[in-house]
Amino acid sequence: MKKINLAILAMFAGILYANAQAPADTGTYKNRKLQLEEVNIVSSYYHQDGDHAAVTGGIGSQRLTDLSNSIQVTLSKYDVHDRKHTWNLELGIDHYTSASSDNIDPKTISSASSADTRFYPSVSWEMENKNGRTLGAGVSFSHEFDYQSVGANLLFAQKTRNKMGEFSLKLQTYQDNLKLVYPIELRTNSNGGSGEGEDYATAGRKTYSGTVSWSQIVNSRFQLMLLMDVIYQSGYLGLPFHRVYFNDNSVHVEKLPDSRLKIPLGIRANYFLGDKIVLRGYYRYYHDNWQINAHTVSLETSVKLSPFYSLTPFYRYNHQQGTKYFAAYQAHSSADEYYTSNYDLSTFDSHFFGAGIRIIPPHGVFGMQHFNMLELRYGHYNQSNGLQANSISLNLKFK
């Protein structure tokens, strides 16, 4: 009997000991299901016109209209370690009509290349723990008639112990494949697409990029971010339907080097002035090994007309020193190793200005509780080479 009592005591003591070693239940963990955080719908209309189309060798209409729509769904969930997982699912569709692309084959009244639709879904995931460390990954896909792209990215970010700064590293790659749609007069049986069969040859383009950023809270009104990208591209980096006319009046397809290294450096600074004005400044210096150098500066001012309405006028200036491979219509000679008449790569200044309005009523837009935010933005863009463009964008957010 004494032995049985001792055994029961030993078991009881064992249970107490085991319980004493168990971690204390802090009660901080709540089992949360996957929840919808927000849905964003972005629609845009873009129209441009100019007289330097690359398809026609630096002369001709650059008239282009693009309609784009995208929907982004953000979902989140906390796991058993109280880490926040966020998923972003995005689907975008752009449709454009282009006067210059129609001139790839000017014999047709309106060729298939005069319009195209781009379809681009993407998925990304991020996980942030309580120590301010974020890990993430994503994949993307883009498809249009003559271009396909598959992308992947990895993200690492770490906040400082006092949560005043954050370091971030993002690695990305895009593996692209393009159909070599040459101008009609330069098509041969060997380069494909010579007839109605449209059996085009293809070429690849690879992009690898690393983005390093540091964001820092300076004080209760001011924060800034430093950014640096290193982008390396290889493969077919021109476009096969860009014509170049030499000074002997012969016509060729744009020829550019098969590699490009781009190094942009940027700084953002946001300052809350008083109680109603937010100043958002940005500067970027850009250099690449095609000898393009550029300085970009922009300033956006958000004026809070009330706690729920903001007006955001903005201005952006860009100066670009063009590539040494650029020359205008009939300015290249047969001695040139590389040549393009694409004015996007030329020397110019550009100005972009406009304004937006942002509405976040406390009881939802138009009284609809889940319709959280509406933002409408218009901008006018012009380049010193004559290109003019207008864009209008609408963002609807549901929470």
Partner: protein
Amino acid sequence: MTKHTRKMLLLGGITLTLLASCTVVKEYQKNRLNDGEMTLGNRKVEKTELSFESYREGASGANGAKSGGGCGCN
């Protein structure tokens, strides 16, 4: 020292001065920093603008936008 190097040094100096003047901000003092307009990044409504700027200009990157892939560049 070239003009370009002097500019970069000046920019670096201003940035370091700003970073050195940082003060610790408590969570309850972050109401302005947490305002939606203070986000250190592009807003979703700017998506098309970033896209056409990267196609119409030779320079791109260092702005959180896509730096390659998926053409749409006519």
